[in-house]
């Protein structure tokens, strides 16, 4: 079964693995996104994630459904965290299980790529110089959103 959630607590990747694991599957692929100390050459101290939660969960549910159709994967779990995250904190985790490794791995990649394109979640990065900016991946030069 699939499950999506936007959460405000720490994400435990091991619990996602356990959730998709079963004797029916032979391969589990997990992707974990974490807060990195540098981004585009700037030193980051932390990230505030915010979301339009109802739509984010709806959109992630659609993505898992599409992934199921594309790759035949019936067991995918996604959690995305919002709120104030520190360096090294897990922001997102995706686990997918399948009889074989190729569909499991392709599924995980598809889901993270789609999340980054279309799930209404935003992040404000805080830098060591005391400034902060909304991250806008659509801008070539990564200038702040707006």
């Amino acid at each position: 079964m699939n499950r999506v959630a936007v959460v405000t607590r720490a994400i435990d990747p091991a619990s996602l693995i356990a959730e998709v694991q079963s004797p029916q599957v032979g391969a589990i692929s997990l992707f974990v996104g974490t807060v990195r100390e540098t981004n585009d050459g700037r030193s980051v101290t932390g990230i505030d994630y915010s979301a339009y939660i109802a739509m984010a969960e709806s959109e992630m549910t659609d993505i898992l459904s599409e992934a199921g159709d594309h790759f035949g994967v019936g067991s995918i779990v996604v959690e995305h965290r919002v709120g104030v995250l520190a360096l090294g904190d897990v922001s997102v985790a995706i686990a997918a299980a399948h009889a074989h490794r190729e569909p499991a791995m392709a599924c995980t990649r598809f889901v993270i790529d789609e999340i980054k394109k279309r799930v209404p979640i935003w992040k404000r990065e805080h830098y060591v110089d005391g400034t902060s900016e909304w991250v806008d991946p659509t801008r070539e030069n990564r200038a702040p959103a707006l």
Partner: protein, 81 residues
């Protein structure tokens, strides 16, 4: 005329200094009409030319008709993951 509530998030909420806007629309208005109305508000010129809009939690095309019961949001460039 009917009034719709437009949810704002992240950088767009900062532009208008509020988490939502109340916008009066003529019957038969579309997403494009709504966007033009919002861009004509104070600070509205800070929005991009074609910001993404969601209607009932789905991304909506500019020609989509808007009803007063719809759940509407203006969606800044997303940065999840």
């Amino acid at each position: 005329m009917s009034t719709v509530t437009v949810q704002l998030f992240a950088s767009y909420a900062e532009v208008f200094g509020a988490p939502k806007l109340e916008i009066a629309l003529d019957p038969g208005s579309t997403v494009a009409d709504l966007v033009r109305r919002i861009q004509s508000l104070p600070s509205g010129e800070l929005l991009p030319p074609s910001p993404r809009v969601s209607v009932n939690r789905k991304f909506a095309s500019p020609d989509k008709l808007i009803g007063s019961a719809d759940e509407i949001a203006l969606i800044p460039p997303v940065a999840g993951g």
